[in-house]
């Protein structure tokens, strides 16, 4: 309990640093947001109008004043309005979340379905033919950039075979398949290696021989003890992936026109829409911090040998 409180207290300076950094980064960006905003409207504008707009947005106040004003608003859940659409940032953001969460869930599920069985098979049949085949595909998967995978999938599944829609007009059961596949291919290739290594480690331990000597069926040892022992690895990997997936995978979401937070971030960056970018960076920070906390805590339940607090060093 003390440990949990300590961990939560440690989060405060980190979150504070991140808010400051994300604010400073955007303010020091150098490009003039007001000009950018006016350019987006396509009108011709005078210097006086620019000055008025700067005043109105509070861009003429000292840097720290702007920061604390922003932080204060943030604590009230007010993230400002988008420079481009003029809509409330928080609402825009929340409206994009379901798509990203859905894609995260499906791709994590598919990754688990692919990587755990294949990793275990690969380890059990170490250096046999099937192991080489699995490792070969994992190597290939690791060397493919995800935008290339997306485009190849689009070409074959969407254009050549015509099975799936190329661009997702809305979120439905067919439009989610290709983005999910793209993400799962990359993640599974990475993770099945880790699963394989962990299972190999576990299989070389004495208790496996012990179980065999007692006449326990190998499949039972595998399903019971070995899988349980590999859970720690798997949970860590999944937690890290969930963290980055919830941030929206900028590239995949953009390619498939998947209307999630990743695509929103890319669009906002291209339009220099600072409030949206800031909201996005804050979201990433919160996810990261929470995922780390939950992962650390979950170790305790899975492996009581890990004494919390020791992990600090």
């Amino acid at each position: 309990m003390v440990y949990i409180i300590k961990r939560v207290l440690q989060l405060i300076p980190i979150l504070f640093a991140i808010t400051f950094l994300s604010f400073a980064m955007m303010r020091l960006a150098g490009s003039d947001v007001v000009e950018q905003k006016m350019l987006n409207t396509g009108q011709v504008i005078s210097e006086t109008q620019l000055e008025m707009a700067r005043e109105q947005l509070g861009l003429n106040s000292p840097f720290l004043v702007q920061y604390f004003r922003w932080l204060g608003n943030l604590l009230h859940g007010d993230m400002g309005v988008s420079y481009v659409s003029g809509k409330d940032v928080f609402e825009t953001f929340v409206s994009k979340l379901p798509a990203t969460i859905l894609l995260t869930a499906t791709s994590i599920a598919l990754t688990v379905i692919i990587s755990i069985p294949l990793g275990v098979i690969s380890a059990v049949y170490q250096n046999k033919f099937i192991d080489y085949v699995i490792r070969f595909f994992s190597f290939i998967g690791n060397s493919l950039p995800n935008f290339f995978v997306s485009l190849v999938l689009m070409y074959f599944l969407g254009i050549k075979l015509g099975w799936l829609p190329i661009i997702s007009k809305d979120i439905n059961s067919t439009s989610i398949i290709m983005p999910t596949l793209t993400l799962a291919i990359a993640m599974s290739s990475k993770y099945l290696r880790q699963v394989r290594t962990t299972v190999l480690d576990e299989l070389s331990k004495d208790y496996i021989v012990g179980a065999k000597a007692r006449g326990v069926k190998f499949s039972i040892t595998l399903m019971g003890s070995v899988l349980r022992a590999t859970l720690v690895t798997i949970i860590t990997l999944l937690a890290l992936s969930i963290g980055s997936l919830l941030g929206g995978t900028a590239i995949v979401e953009s390619i498939f026109m998947w209307d999630g937070v990743g695509k929103m971030a890319v669009d906002a960056i291209n339009m220099r829409d600072y409030p949206i970018i800031q909201a996005y960076v804050m979201w990433m920070a919160i996810i990261y911090v929470l995922v780390n906390l939950i992962t650390d805590l979950s170790y305790r339940f899975l492996d009581p040998r890990i004494r919390l607090g020791d992990r600090e060093s």
Binding site: S143, P145, F147
Partner: protein, 274 residues
């Protein structure tokens, strides 16, 4: 012995790729930037090995020139982060104390964000351009090296030969150069080699999003992004640079794996190999 042969073959391939990148301008059969609309969208054939794009530019030449940008910028990026990160790591590990604490917290912060997200933000601030993409990725990638270098430095810091050097009157700089660096450089080089493939994909990814190399500069990621709309009708415009990225990443990854096995299978743990 078998390992040695494998390493030799992989080294040759890597040298070949780098050679092609450096002398790209002399290898191209056509001018990669010369437009000739009369030969636009030609399918791959003997005349144009990978076909031509919307402006009649030879894809094969563009892929080779694109490799110059992609590969050289990746190598520059990895060199920068490896040298910078290692230097910081050695300083932290060797001198310890407050510097160590502050730098390690900064690197925690950098490691905190998923790479591409942070790079996106940095690239957005600096604007597009391949140099800015390299800077953006460098900002987020150096901590890995400082972690490795710091750990390795800590592990040898108290060994007897360092004590001996101190007693012999060497100052810190001499000890670091003569004893620390030669002893930790192996794992660092392996980490860097294994990083090349990943970094190449990340640079191409940023360019794909329009935050790296800008048109008309030929770069694999931006070439694929520009050709996206032609995927249906002229797939070679998209697939050729994609295959080029894939082959280069495979070669660098294989080289990294072979090098790791050859140097010391135990020394570099799995976690650095991604």
């Amino acid at each position: 012995m078998k390992k040695k042969i494998k390493l030799t073959i992989m080294s040759c391939l890597v040298v070949l790729i780098i050679f092609m990148a450096i002398f790209a301008t002399y290898i191209c059969p056509y001018d990669p930037y010369e437009q000739d609309l009369s030969v636009a969208y030609q399918a791959p054939g003997l005349e144009h090995l990978m076909g031509t794009d919307a402006y009649g530019r030879d894809m094969f030449s563009r892929v080779i020139i694109g490799g110059q940008v992609s590969i050289l910028s990746t190598l520059a990026l990895v060199a920068i982060i490896a040298v910078f990160g290692t230097t910081i790591g050695i300083i932290c590990g060797y001198f310890g104390n407050k510097v160590d604490f502050v730098v390690m917290r900064i690197s925690d912060l950098c490691l905190a964000f998923p790479g591409l997200v942070f790079a996106l933000a940095v690239a957005a601030i600096l604007g597009g351009g391949i140099v800015n993409a390299v800077i953006a990725l460098a900002v987020i990638s150096w901590p890995k090296y400082s972690r490795v270098a710091r750990g390795l430095t800590l592990s040898i810091k108290d060994s007897t030969y360092i004590e001996a050097a101190k007693l012999a009157g060497d100052n810190s700089l001499q000890i670091i150069c003569r004893h620390v660096i030669p002893n930790i450089i192996g794992p660092i080089i392996v980490t860097a080699t294994l990083d090349i493939g990943t970094m190449m994909m990340e640079i191409a990814g940023l360019s794909f999003l329009g935050l790296g190399a800008q048109p008309p500069v030929a770069e694999w990621g931006s070439m694929m992004s520009n050709g996206r709309s032609m995927l249906q009708t002229y797939p070679w415009v998209v697939l050729s640079p994609g295959i080029a990225i894939f082959i280069s990443v495979v070669i660098f990854n294989l080289f990294g794996d072979t090098l790791r096995d050859a140097v010391d299978p135990k020394n570099v743990s799995q976690s650095f190999s991604k």
